[in-house]
Structure formats: structure tokens, C-alpha cells
Symmetry: C2
Subunit: 475 residues, 2 copies
Amino acid sequence: MTPEPLLEALRSIVGADHVLTQGKLCAWEQDWRRRRQGKALAVVRPASTAEVAAVVRACAKAGTALIPQGGNTGLSVGATPDDSGTQIVLSLTRMNRIRAIDRDNLTVTVEAGCILQTLQEYADQHGLLFPLSLAAEGSCTVGGNLGTNAGGTQVVRYGNTRELCLGLEVVTAQGEVWEGLSGLRKDNTGYDLRHLFIGSEGTLGVITAATMKLFPKPVADLTAWAAVPSMAAAVRLLGLAHQHLGASLTGFEVMGQFALSLVARHMPQLRVPFAAMQGAPYCVLLENADSESEQHARERFEHLLEHALDEGCVLDAVVAESIAQARELWHVRESIPLAQAEEGLNIKHDISVAASRIPAFVEHTDALLTREIPGVRLVNFGHLGDGNLHYNVQAPEGDDGKVFLREQEARVNRLVYDAVAQFGGSFSAEHGVGQLKTHELERYEPPVALAMMRAIKQALDPQGIMNPGCVLSKP
Amino acid sequence: MTPEPLLEALRSIVGADHVLTQGKLCAWEQDWRRRRQGKALAVVRPASTAEVAAVVRACAKAGTALIPQGGNTGLSVGATPDDSGTQIVLSLTRMNRIRAIDRDNLTVTVEAGCILQTLQEYADQHGLLFPLSLAAEGSCTVGGNLGTNAGGTQVVRYGNTRELCLGLEVVTAQGEVWEGLSGLRKDNTGYDLRHLFIGSEGTLGVITAATMKLFPKPVADLTAWAAVPSMAAAVRLLGLAHQHLGASLTGFEVMGQFALSLVARHMPQLRVPFAAMQGAPYCVLLENADSESEQHARERFEHLLEHALDEGCVLDAVVAESIAQARELWHVRESIPLAQAEEGLNIKHDISVAASRIPAFVEHTDALLTREIPGVRLVNFGHLGDGNLHYNVQAPEGDDGKVFLREQEARVNRLVYDAVAQFGGSFSAEHGVGQLKTHELERYEPPVALAMMRAIKQALDPQGIMNPGCVLSKP
């Protein structure tokens, strides 16, 4: 069947300028990490919910698959087309309005294509905080954050994107609009469709807008950096931080010394505190957001760190004296992925394990990999406050990263994910399943749960046109 | 078809002692508020997940409906059988073990039949907090809390039951066990089945166990009571409290003076602060749980209240000087339902509206009801911190409550729920839909959402044996 009638229908819905079929479309067809290169029939860019609904209806009529896409910064290949040239990329970036703010209710209603950083800045200008924060915030969209249930650096206090959302507007796989926007903090009227769409990666429908929570801005934000004698000590420090700081603990990141050594090697202009310190295999970055005063925050922090030093779970620590210093510390943490890329290609993991089991998991898996691949280098860092590690695996010193990836990736993934499963963890903590990890989902998810997911997919998208092959492999 | 073979099968699964068919079964057959009297084929009391699964399989084979039941304290008739004498009540109360606590991960794994208060006390004994708290806590079960997504008095800080749950163990409608227990705070592997089962009131499967979040215990818990000049002032005070106390604000309850006057009338031994104070139509109860010290909590509270007095959104306020005084204040708040019952039968509502719109909603609806039913008395109180009001309607002074209910209930519900819908609110904030409110769900839920709910029900329970007629009316 010729696609021309569908393309004509799409042009009449969104305007010919917004149905892209010519020229370089790789910004939409290729995922951000360049793991897959697809080929779309067209990239369609609607400007309103009504246009999205009409696009979905036209595609449903033609039996054509749709791939919803936000900023295309996802890490699991969940928003790009396959290479058949038959799928439509539905780009939401023109739907980028902030529709309304309700300061007394601490909520904001925003369209799916709004850039995360735009929303952060908008909240800030209104004297409030939108706490979701992650590396791609300058280009990822709120719709993508919701579709993948993005995490980031403040989850320990504010939760994942899921926990920040009160209501959704969704275009269903039939092209109907579900008006589920809501600023309600309590609403027990039937099944929670909101949470079903959040994290479903565009496979059940298209999120077009959302009502998100806002928070009072903390008065003071302090950052500390601590050297710890072991991963177990880092977990103990987490417990103390919960106890001492309560909900003021907004960040708790762990970094292995090898990860930090890559920053020191490739970004020599950055100062890495306690780099290569004897007996300190890990450093921890803590953030303390106080609703009272900077002085109060500093006292609480110092009290915590003194207690931790006394107990021996911290060897040494610094509290940033200024915002500039705090930024420098965060900059070191955030430079790890780039430093790692400079060092060469590597095998990335985004895993979670209960915080209490992380020390045993790391000990077990470090030993396993070192035994199986002599000389392998482990770049271990992440959001320990949420039990989430980016447990990455780098080729032995001097080896070619490309060859390492080609020869070892499948094997390393199996070793790491089997270990994660053995410790009751998740093979995808915050990046989602996408096309990249459908086989991992099939391997590790209990069959009973998989069967329910397939039944739900069939119930809400019986034609199978919404992002096929993402999350669940094609039937 | 004779039910005897099924009963025989059930006896062989759980033991004859735990298949109740004789004697007075109204503790299981009648809902707590005595709105409906059902008749069960049997009450079955399994002791393990395997027994629950076998019971469900036996019922599925026989095509017999199952009504999962916890403490039977629900307020929307969601856990009792119809009057056909053909349904099985599946009582979870024998499954009441706390399976494991993980202090470093701040989680506890508990069976569905565990009494809420038992879990609260268990956490307390381990130096931790399980924050869910509601009137029925001495007899409701964690499984029931999850099934109905219970709310209560600490939602403003800790969220509803949904937000406190990390993982579930569920017996599906086919009698299979989904092992979804998990202590993970980040896990983006497929559709969120957990949130689908939470709040589904036993219509999609049977929750048999859950992993729940725990929190560090606050060091100091202070309670204040403030007289406010209007509902708008109460909402302004809420905003100030968020700003000043941050996450230490754990309770924010509003009470109308008429509600308080019923407490004064029927419980003359209780002292009601600022009772009948001129120009103060509402009082607010605030709770401040501090992770630092009592002195610090008191300073923060006084700072907040001084600011609120200066702004005029508080007319007068007291901070409890002792735990005994704090308990007295809470006791006044918690005595409202009982005082109201003493005054006579009344029409109860459990509604939510965005906090910002509550003043306009109350003004509109108070005027509407007063105009439509001269002399009507409004018992307005609830969890203003969550936008949740128990906006109850009492017969005019001297009128017979029974007659009032018979003649006015349907009309009053329509007036109130239409007003709620007009203000973008929910007709069931925390009590669920049950059998009692299925027609309200059909009336107020968008048809697109209802169709998705029916499709999900059909997908996960195609036989329609799980709590039929609850949430969704029978097809």
C-alpha cells in the first residue's frame, strides 16, 4: 500500500511544513547514544493535543505505527523508529507551553514538549522549585521524563518523575483524548491510569500534558564531599544522613576512586577532593537543602559529619564554603561520564539494588568481573541514596574499546544482570527498557508479570501501533 | 449447580475450620457502616499465599466470585458480598505476619492481613516510623489500605498508601502468584503493575503481601491549634506552613466551628480551643515533626505562627506544651465523626478539590445547600493539607436524621458532587469507590478513562470473578 494518502492526511492535520520526509532526519531517526539508526516514513510535528489526536487516528486508520518522541535523549533506544521506513516519528517538541501555574496548590500544568530546564526555570522565577534534575535537562522534555519515569539526582528526597505527577492528558491508541489533568493530591476513583502511562515509554498512548508538583524553594543548599573507607561505610553514612537531616537530604551520590581518577586524568583542571586517598575506595557527595537558613544547614551538616567521623564511616570531609565551590563538587561528579568516554568506549549499566545489599553486591560483582576478565576496570558511581548505581565496565588499560564492546558486551551484561537478579535488583533503574533491553525484560521479569503487561498492551493498543517493539518485543 | 464440590475443595485447601458457612457471619457479610447486608456462600480464611492461590484457582474453575476482605472497615462497601449467597468472602486476616525488616534500606515486608497499628508499633520498636495513620488503624489491615489506597492524617508529608509501597505480592485472577515484592526505590522495567493493583479494591487480583517504606522517627512532634478568619486564610496558612516548615509539616487539618460545636455539645469533658470565637469560622490543627530537637521545633512553629498572626491569616493560636496536650487537641479533631453521629444520621462526603480552589468551592456549596435546604447544617472538616474535606451534611436542628437521609441523600449528593466536579475535584478522595459509588464513577469519570478501566478489568480478570460490582458496575 502506498503511504501517500496517509502523508497527505498528516499534512492536512499539522501543515506540510511539519511533516518531514526529505533531507537529514537523523536527529529524529537515530538515538542519542547512536546505538541504532532507524528510517522513518515521516517525522510529524503537531502543535496541539487535537492535532496529536488527529494524527493518531489517521495512523490507526492506515495501520501505521507511531513512535512518540520528546528530546530524543533517552538511553535505551525508546523513541526512534525501526529501519523499515514505514513508521511515523511523532515529535512533541512543538507542544512546549506551560499552560498554568497554581501557586497556592503548588502545581504547574505543562505540555509534553516543554524542555525540563525551561520548567525548572519557570518554577524558580515564581519562587518555587521543580526538583527533577538530570544530565540531559537542557534538552530532554517533560513528556519524555514521564514516558520513561526519569530519575536523576534528587530522587532521595523528591522521588522519580512518577512521584512528581498528579495528572495527565493522554491521546489513546484510538486517537481519543483522555482529560486526566488534575491538581488533586488525593483521588481514589478507579484504576490509576496515570501511573500506568508513566513509564510505559509511549507504548500505550501519547502523553500530551501533565500537572506536576512544585515545592517551596529551600532557603539554603549545601554540598559536602566525604571520603569513606568502604561501600558499607557509605551505606552507613546514608542511614546517618537520613536520621540527622530528615527530608533535608536531597542528594547522596557515591563515586569509586577509579571513576574519579578518570576525571583527574582527562579533566586536569578540576580539583578532585581526596583523590587516591589511602584506604578510601569511595567518595560520597551529599546535598542538604534547608528550609531555615544557611547557618542552620551548616550546623546540621557539621553535626552529621562529626558523628560520622567519630563512628569511622567517614575518613575526611569538606563542606563547600560557597555556591561556586558546591558547583565545582557537583561538576566533578557530573564529569564522570564524559571522562569515561574520553578513556574509551565502555559497557554501561543502570542498575538498582536495595541500599542494604549494595556492599555485598559490589564485592561479589567486582570479584566476578575481575576474575572473568583480567585487567577489567570498573567505573562505579551513582545515586546511592536510591540504591541506583551506574556500574560501568571499561576495557583493560590499553585495550581497544570497540573490540572490547564487540567481544565482551553480551557476556559482561549477563554477568552483571545475573548478579543484580541474584541480589533482588533491577537491570534498569532509571533509563527504562526501550528497544535495547526488551530481551532483558523477557529474561528477568517474572512470566506472570510479563503476561499481565502483554494483556494490558493488547487491551489498550489492540492494533499494536504505539511504539511497537519498545518495552515488549513484537508478538 | 450445587456449590458442595467447591466448598469441599476449599476445605481441603484451607482446612474445614477456615471455611465458614454456619452461624452469624455478619462480621464479614455486612460493611462497617451497615450500608449493605450481603449473604456469602462461605467465608474462607487462607493462611498463606499458596492457599490464596489455590482458593482463587478453585473459584475460577467453578466460576464463583471472590470478595477479598481485610479488616472490613472500608467506608464505600468494597469488601462485602452481594446478597445472592453465591460469593466467597476471602478474608486475609490470618495472613498477618511481618516477614522481614531491612533497617538499612528503610523497608518492611508485611502480609496483607497485618493490622495497621501492629505495623506502626513494629516499626516504632525498631526505632523507625511507618507513617500511615487513620481512624480505623486498630482494626484495618495493610492489604485493605493498599486495596483502597488509604489516606489519613499524614498525607501532606508522606503521601497516600500508594506512595508508601515499593513492591507487591499478588495472586492474579487466574490464581497465579506474581512475586513483585521489592525494596527498590528505582525500577523502570515495564508497566507499573504495582500502582495498578493499589487502589483497585480487589477487582484485579488479591494483594497478599507488600514491601513498605519506613522513615527515621522524628525527634520531636509538636501540635498547634489556630483560629482563622476564613477558609481563604486557612489556605494561606497552609502556604506559609509549607514555606516555613518544609517537609516537617506532617499534618494540616481544618475544622468548621459547627463541627467543633458538636464536639463541645456531645463531649462536654473535652476543651475545644477558640470554640465559637467571634470572626473565626474555622480552626486549623497543625503538626510539625522535627528531626532536630523539641526546642528547634517550637522555635520554628512560633516563627510561623507569628508571621501568620502578623499577616492576619491567624487570629489566635496555641502550641501544645506537652504530649498530653497535643493528644487532647488531636482527640478533639478525631471526635468530630462521633459527635456528629451523636447528633444524628447525616450525609457523608469524602471529596477533594485543589487547595487553591477550596475557599471558592466551600463558599459556593455552602450557599447552594443553605438555599436548597433551609436550616441544613454543614459539618465541614478534613485534611486541608491534601485538599481533602469531609464535607458532611446534617439535618436541620430537630429534624429526624433517618427521614432526612431517606428524602435528601440522593439530592444532596448530586448538589455536592456536581459542585465538586465544577471545581475540578474528586467525589472520592480517600475512601474509594466500592459498591456504593459505582454510579458516581460512571457519572463523573470521563468516558475515555472508564473505557480504559473496563478494558484493563477485562484483560486481567476476563472471567469477572474478582469482586464483581465493585469500582466498575457489572457489565
